[in-house]
Amino acid sequence: MTDGVALLKAAQKLDEEALTAIFDQFAPAIYKYTLRLCHDPIVADNIVGDVFAQLLEQFAAGKGPRTNLRSYLYQTAYHLVVDRSRDNQHNAPLDVAVGTYEKGQFTPTQSQIEERVMMEALISAMNTELTEDQRHVIILRFLEDFSLKETAEIIGKEVNNIKVIQNRGIAKLRKSLGMQLGDGW
């Protein structure tokens, strides 16, 4: 935490090493998060570039994040993805996660196959059953491991609202998986 604060303070002074370290630390995660949302590796790469370009502009203008750099970067990426999806009427599926999961180069056991089936069903339910807000909240909360407060900051809603969205999303997923996989769910 202290290192993060020191890194952030150094970056605010436009220290080149600090700025490079921030990129090395967060760019892969931002790319993965963006790829989960927008499906296109090139678009995800462009969004990563835009995120860090905006960060530099903010630091150069004496603005930018003061405390939570990670949340700030995800928030910027989220807004860029939402803007692009509005422009392209894009549905932000999570097929990339499915594709990489399916491309695992190992010989699956029986339990692994069952788990894989459940994963496919889960991802399919996320893409088809959830609203855009629910999908964003689920990704940020459980795939990116943000707290409720951080998720609320990123999406720009109240914490209680995020709780409601999350619970409704999980309930929808459970219902969908139960219908797909039988009464065991």
Partner: protein, 208 residues
């Protein structure tokens, strides 16, 4: 946050997805990193110039307050700037020396304006003079001689009692009192050659 057991399984599945997903391709990551570093360098250059200006400004402010601190950065910059201005001005003056000389000549040859002396500070006095007499051409009718108006005594609307009035006698008609009603001499008709086109109107005027 606690979930129901069924929901907790979903949460566990979601957390298993955390490590899945596409990794950043190396080539894309390297090119993006390079572009980011170039952006940092460009911003750093801009910031460097800005910081230099700020430093000079701060040094100039410090130089005005601390005179005893020897040659400060502000005085050095000031000296350099003044020297540069003098050199530049001398070069320009040398290049345009002919034009400058002509300009000074033209300025020195312009005649100076002569001031007209104004005599008397007060308003000029109004000289009272006789009003012009009205002379009428001699006619047979009795003429009225104009009366002389006495000159004004300087003040407007002065005493009327002090004015001299001379009354002239009306001239005699000399048996010719002019043309009056009923006394106009009857004109005599003269026989002249009447032109043939002129016809005398007779009758009641109904003739064509």
């Amino acid at each position: 946050m606690e979930f129901e057991p069924e929901e907790q399984e979903i949460v566990d599945l979601l957390t298993k997805l955390r490590n899945d997903g596409g990794n950043y391709p190396r080539k894309l990551l390297a090119s993006r990193r390079q572009a980011y570093l170039s952006q940092i360098a460009s911003i750093g250059a801009g910031i460097g110039i800005g910081a230099g200006i700020k430093t000079v400004a701060k040094a100039s402010k410090a130089g005005t307050t601390a005179h005893a601190s020897g040659i400060s950065a502000s005085s050095l910059i000031e000296t350099v700037l003044v020297g540069a201005i003098v050199v530049q001005a001398s070069i320009v003056a040398y290049n345009y020396r002919d034009n400058i000389a002509e300009f000074f000549k033209s300025v020195s040859s312009i005649p100076t304006a002569v001031s007209i002396p104004v005599t008397g500070s007060s308003l000029p006095e109004i000289d009272a003079s006789e009003s012009p007499t009205l002379t009428l051409p001699p006619t047979n009718t009795p003429s009225v001689t104009a009366t002389t108006v006495p000159p004004l005594s300087g003040s407007e609307g002065g005493d009327t009692a002090a004015q001299d009035t001379t009354v002239t006698e009306t001239p005699k008609p000399n048996d010719n009192n002019g043309n009056h009603f009923g006394q106009t001499p009857r004109p005599t008709r003269e026989n002249k050659n009447v032109s043939p086109t002129k016809t005398k109107k007779t009758g009641n005027g109904n003739n064509p």
